[in-house]
Structure formats: structure tokens, C-alpha cells
Amino acid sequence: MYKLEMKDITKTFPGVIALENVNFEVTQGEVHALIGANGAGKSTLMKILAGAYTGYEGELFIDGNKIAIHNPLDAKRNGIVIVYQEVDTALVPYLTVAENIMMDHIVSEKKDVFMNWKEIKARAKKEIMDLGLDINVNQLVSELTLSEKQMVLIGRAVFQKAKYLILDEPTAPLSVEETKKLFEIVRKLKKDGMSVIFITHRLDEVFEICEKITVLKDGKIVGTYNTENMTIDIVVEKMLGRKLEQSYPKVNATIGEELLEVQGLSGTGGINSANLHVRAGEIIGLAGLVGGGKTELCKLLFGEGKVTEGEIILKGKKIKIKTPAQAVQEGLALVPEERRKEGVLVHESIATNITLPTLKSYCKGPFMQKLKIKKTSLEAIKKIGIKTPNERQLVANLSGGNQQKVAIGKWLLSGAEVFVLDEPTKGVDIGSKAEIYMLIGDLVKQGKAVIYASCEFSEILGLTDRAYVMYNGTTAKELITKETTEEELLYYSAGGGSIK
């Protein structure tokens, strides 16, 4: 009977305690769910186990013997294998399925100069058959679907005789059929004595396949439970709990006409018949957990990706948005989640950033008018309240909150009417958060419409008028903010409404 224990694990990142005295254990043949809200520390805990982090406190034991894991190879030697959601990071795309499954064998077991292709193919084929899969081992991995790639990685883990398999949100990108198949395999692995740790946001799946649940919250263990004694409601309750209260400004904006309506929108990123509408002066929330489809929906609205079905209606007029440039022209603005990567040009000045979408209006012919740009920028800086000595300051030197203000500010100048904000307060300190909330308040007072995507339910509750809960790529539930609770939001985010 194998047993893996993590004892008193503490992990700090600069300024944040990600995990605090966490104890966790898995025994042989157990499917163990690790759940918690975003930022609870699930992934951090599993990355420690997989050897992705080096600096941490605490001890690891296998069958009572202390082990040291400081890199992925250590983890593998101890029989621990992780399959990340980004499967491509572990695969060699232009080699065959057989080679990818047998990678370790090719590298370390055989010391012959020449490859024994027959053996490699035969053994890989057996592995695939044993898992009950239908994949041609001669196929190139680059030609596989995402689900098949996962299977190849699981096959590799089995081949490596892994005792502990960690699946990091494996089902988020899968279809219902593919998920079913994955579960069949997990059940089979369990029967063969493998322990599977299953990180997920989808509670319905937890109840379908896991016998134990460990709940993390704010880097601490809430508890480990037997699934049979639990219900979704109780789990949701355990996942939540009081956090630091953030105050939200009261916004008194008059709600006007319908600005944007989305009907049955499907397309890139697994978005599947999403519906929403937003009026002038209104803030609507897109609530949901990571993988629910918030970011994908925001991007799809902004013309990043391909719409396969459905309609976008702007001010009563059907529009087709195929590119971000078109979206800007129609009066949409997106403040993306990855601020430093997608939202601002960090190595450019505030002035450059803020006048970017509207640069044409500060130009005479092809030439930029420096004075006009300076004047506009200074006005904008004052109006938005960016803390900076001057407009020439590089955005890289600003605090996270001020960077976000630049990202929002550039769209104010462009006269955008519908603002799509994707996790605008991510990685921003509490003081700056309040200022960003104020800024959003100002937006709606001016009659703009705001779509506010966030995985922080308290934000959704504090800021929005209505909220849509995203689950599995669709707007699973519409709620009036005043009448809902954090529990209800989490319930629907975790697929609570989709059970039965």
C-alpha cells in the first residue's frame, strides 16, 4: 500500500504566502480531488510535488520515508508525474505517438546505438490498447487532438510506472465525450493501483469520480473529506469563507438604452451559445472560475477569434466583428487580462500608450504633433488620476494599478462606448483597486457600458448591477447582483446548475 504525504508545506512568493502549513496525503488506488477558489494554492501545492518549485518549507514522505523533490526528475524518480493543462509543453510534436510514450525508455533504458523500432512500436501499442484507446502509434503527435495528447501523456506516465498521477484541470478543454473517456481511463488506473490527484473547478466531476476531496482556501487546508459524506452545497461553503473586506464605491448612474446584445454566440476558445446584454450606464459582471470561458468570451466579443454562430447587436444594429480593429471602430474597448503582455506597451511612455488607439487625430498627414499629444496625455493623466511625474514616464516604471489606468485610459480617449474589462484588478494592490473601481464608476456615469469579467466573486457582488456566471464556455446563469450571494455565484461557476 503506497502512501504519499506532504507535511507542513509552506511556500511564499515575494509579498504573498501562497501555502501555509499545508498537510496533504494520498494513498494507493485513490482518486483525490484538490479543489479551491482561484488563488487558493492548489496548483502551487501540486507544483511542489512535481518538482517545479525549489524553495519551500516542509517535508515529503513516501511510505513513511522522507524524500527530497527539487526538480521534475526527482519527482519522476519517486513515481510522481504531473500532466499539465498545457499538454504541448511535455510533448515532441513532430515525433510519433510511440516515441512520445516511450521517450524515457528511449533515453534511459536502452543503451544500444540503434533503435529497436519494432519493440518501441509494439510496446507503445500495447500501452495504448491497455488503456482502451484508439490511437495509431505511428501518427505524429502534432496531428492529435488535445484530448488524445492528454492520453499520450497519461500513457507515458503509465509506462514510467508512475504511482501518483497529478491531472491539472484536465477536463477544462475537453468535450463531454472526451471527458467521459478520460474518466474511464482514470477508473482503470485506479483499479490498477495508481493514485490520481485531480485538480479541478468542476464540482460535478468531483462527485462523479473522486472518493476524497481536499479543500484549500487562501493557502490553507480547510479539510479532507470523503465524497460520499458531502454535497455540492457543503463543498461550496467550505471553499468560501470571509476574506478581507474591500469597499466598493456607490455608483449612481442612470441606466439608459440597450447598447450591446449578444445572442447565442459560439466560437473560438470553446464559447458555446453565450447570451448577454448590457445597457448604457450599466456594469454587468462575467463571473466564473478559470477555464469557465470569461477571457475567451471577452476576446471573442472583441474580434479576436472566429465566431461560428450567433449574433452581436450593437445599438440595435447587427454587426459582424472579425478583427480587433473593427471592434475598436464599432466603439468597443478591451482591457485584457494579461496587462503587461497584451494591455500596455511597457517599454513605451504613458503618452505613447494613451494616444495609441487615437493616434490619427494627433497627426498632420503622416507626422505626429508632439505638442498635441503631450497636451492630451497630460489631460488624460489628470482625469484618470495616474500617479506620475510626467507623461514621458515609461509604463514599466508605474505600479500595477497605474498601468491598468493607462490601459483603460487609452480607450477613454477613443470614445469607446462598451468597455470589456478582463480581470482588471489582477495583481493590483488594495489602494489601486479602489481607484480602478472609481474609474469604472466614472465610466458608467458618462453613460458607457461596462462588462466586468472577474473570478473574485466579492468584486462581482460589490461592483456590478447584473452578473452572468460563465461555466463550460457559456453564460450558464444570469443573476441580479442585489439578490444573489457569493455561494450562489460559486455554485453556478462550479457547474452546480448543470448537474442532473
Binding site: A90, D104, S108, F114, M115
Partner: protein, 333 residues
């Protein structure tokens, strides 16, 4: 019904993806055979093979660097460098053919070592490292021969009379000789193609190169010492490029710096066309050979049809675009 049509369309696409490049080669050969009397005879075919032998060797050098996800732009210059050293050894230093073969090959390997060191340890990107190396080598080659070519009975500087050494007969055999009616360069080229093919596909080390190039992180985690295999790839690249240089020098019967540089772009094209052959989608020896042959056949045929030689690059460019299109368009899917 509708789905049937769709499935057929995809199959057709797949077929084209897999056999597109080969199809183009066959079409070109057929076209020239029908329109040109003298195309399909032993002499001309030998001629095509001989003309692509140097490009193919240099392209194989690039192919090896590509397998580890790198890129070696210095191969053309390495070839030129090798030919100049060989000529200097024989003509100026009056040494035998053995030295004229061994020293340049070792020099090629050394160039690969330096490239690998700069890429792995100093962490300059592969393109820039090898681009710089290209300049350095070209410069050294010119300095080495005092700014002019090295040839038999050349006048020596400072009125020192005429060079006493000559390009050795045995050395010239490499580029000009024939064995059983087949030009030696062709035999060398085919031998290297087969060896590289066996190395890449049937030995563990070849697989390590592919794994390193395909996914460095995954390769590392499987326990492959990736830096060692990058080094090996670049050393082999330099070595094979130098071999190409020897064939080149031997064929010209002299040592000329710029002779190697002009092969670089053709070789890059051949290696990338190789990606698309049979839809393999990765650098490979036979694909590279076919890439070199495809361009050789097209140029040979076009020249026989009085296509102006100065417009050849247009054809080469389009063939390369076609092949890259086949490889990359698929990847986006």
C-alpha cells in the same frame, strides 16, 4: 451526404500535403522529358546530380543544426573556408592530399564547436551567432589567401616567384573523378545522405537530436543532456559543410572564398523543402536531398529551355515559398 463530401476534401488536402513536393518533382521531370530531347539521358541526369551535390551536402549540414531547433548560417562560409585551407595546404605549403583533406574537416568541426559554445554558453541566438561566424570565416579566408584566389602556378607575393605546389591529382579526384561512370561528388553526397538518415532515424542519438529540437523542456526532463546534443549537431554541421567545401575546392581546382557563400541560400531552401516531403514536418536527410534535387532539376530544365540564368533565383524563391506553405499552413490547422 454532406459529411462525405467534407471528408473527401480533407483527404485530398492530406494527400497533397503529403505528396505535394514529390508530385511537383515528378511533374517537373515529366514536363522536361517531354519538351526537351536531351533531358532524359544518363549524361544529363548525372549532370543534375553532380550539380546539386555541393548544395545537398551544405543543406545536410543545415539540416543537422535544424534537428536541435537551431540554425546554422555559417555553413556556406565554412565550405569556402575549407576549400581555401585545402588549396593553401597543397599549393603554398606543398603538403600532400591527406593533410588537405583532414585539416579542413577538423577546421569545420572546430567551427561547429565555437558556434555551439556561443549559442549554449554565451547564449547568443543561433541565427546571430552563425551569421557573425559567417563574417569571421569569410574574412579569415580572404586574409588567408592575401585577397586573391589560390591556384596552381600562381605568382607569389613579394616577387617570390611562382607557387611550387599544385592541387594534387588525388584531391582533384574528389570533385572531378568518376567511379563506375558515376561522378565521385554524387557518390559522396548519396553516402552522406544515407549515413545522416541512418543516424537520425535508427540510432538513439538521432532521436535525441529530434527530441531536443522538438521540445527542449520535455527532452531535458526525460534526462537528455541537451547541451551535449546541441554541440554534437553543430560539430556535425561544421564537419559536413567542410566536406562540401572539399568537393567544391576540388571541382574548381582552386581555393576561392566566395565560392561557398552562394550555396547558402540554396541549401537553406533545400533543407526547408525537405520538411514538406511526405508531410514529415521536420528536418530530414532524404527530404533535404529531394529539395536539392527539385531545385537542380528545375534549374537544369529551365537553362536547357534558354531561361536566363540571372532569373534563376525567382524560381528558387517560389519553390521555397511553395514548400514552406505546405509545411506551415498545416501547422496552423
Amino acid at each position: 451526404m454532406n459529411e462525405n463530401v467534407k471528408a473527401k476534401k480533407i483527404d485530398f488536402y492530406k494527400l497533397f500535403y503529403k505528396y505535394g513536393t514529390i508530385f511537383v518533382i515528378i511533374a517537373a521531370v515529366l514536363f522536361f522529358s517531354i519538351t526537351l530531347e536531351n533531358f532524359m539521358n544518363f549524361r544529363n541526369i548525372t549532370n543534375v546530380f553532380r550539380s546539386v551535390s555541393i548544395v545537398a551536402l551544405i543543406a545536410l549540414a543545415i539540416t543537422l543544426s535544424l534537428t536541435v531547433g537551431g540554425f546554422d548560417l555559417s555553413v556556406g562560409a565554412t565550405a569556402g573556408f575549407a576549400s581555401v585551407i585545402a588549396a593553401k595546404i597543397m599549393v603554398i605549403w606543398e603538403m600532400g592530399p591527406a593533410m588537405a583533406i583532414i585539416v579542413p574537416l577538423l577546421a569545420g568541426g572546430l567551427v561547429g564547436c565555437i558556434n555551439a559554445f556561443l549559442i549554449i554558453k554565451v547564449k547568443i541566438t543561433d541565427m546571430l551567432t552563425t551569421l557573425s561566424m559567417m563574417f569571421v570565416l569569410t574574412g579569415i579566408s580572404i586574409t588567408f589567401q592575401n585577397g586573391s584566389a589560390i591556384y596552381n602556378y600562381m605568382p607569389l607575393p613579394n616577387n617570390a616567384g611562382i607557387a611550387k605546389g599544385t592541387m594534387n591529382e588525388a584531391f582533384l579526384y574528389i570533385g572531378q573523378g568518376k567511379l563506375l561512370g558515376i561522378p565521385v561528388p554524387v557518390i559522396i553526397m548519396l553516402t552522406v545522405v544515407v549515413l545522416v538518415h541512418i543516424f537520425l532515424n535508427y540510432t538513439r542519438y538521432g532521436r535525441y537530436l529530434y527530441m531536443t529540437g522538438g521540445n527542449e523542456e520535455a527532452a531535458k526532463l526525460s534526462g537528455i543532456p541537451i547541451n551535449k546534443y546541441k554541440l554534437i549537431a553543430y560539430v556535425m554541421s561544421g564537419f559536413i559543410a567542410a566536406l562540401g567545401g572539399l568537393v567544391l575546392g576540388s571541382r574548381l581546382g582552386s581555393g576561392e572564398v566566395n565560392a561557398g557563400g552562394s550555396y547558402l541560400m540554396d541549401a537553406v531552401a533545400a533543407a526547408y523543402i525537405g520538411y514538406s516531403v511526405l508531410g514529415i514536418g521536420k528536418p530530414n536527410a532524404f527530404g533535404t536531398l529531394l529539395g536539392a534535387l527539385l531545385m537542380g532539376v528545375l534549374l537544369n530544365g529551365l537553362i536547357m529551355m534558354d531561361f536566363p540564368y540571372y532569373s534563376q533565383d525567382i524560381v528558387k524563391g517560389f519553390v521555397l515559398i511553395f514548400a514552406l506553405g505546405l509545411t506551415y499552413y498545416k501547422r496552423k490547422e
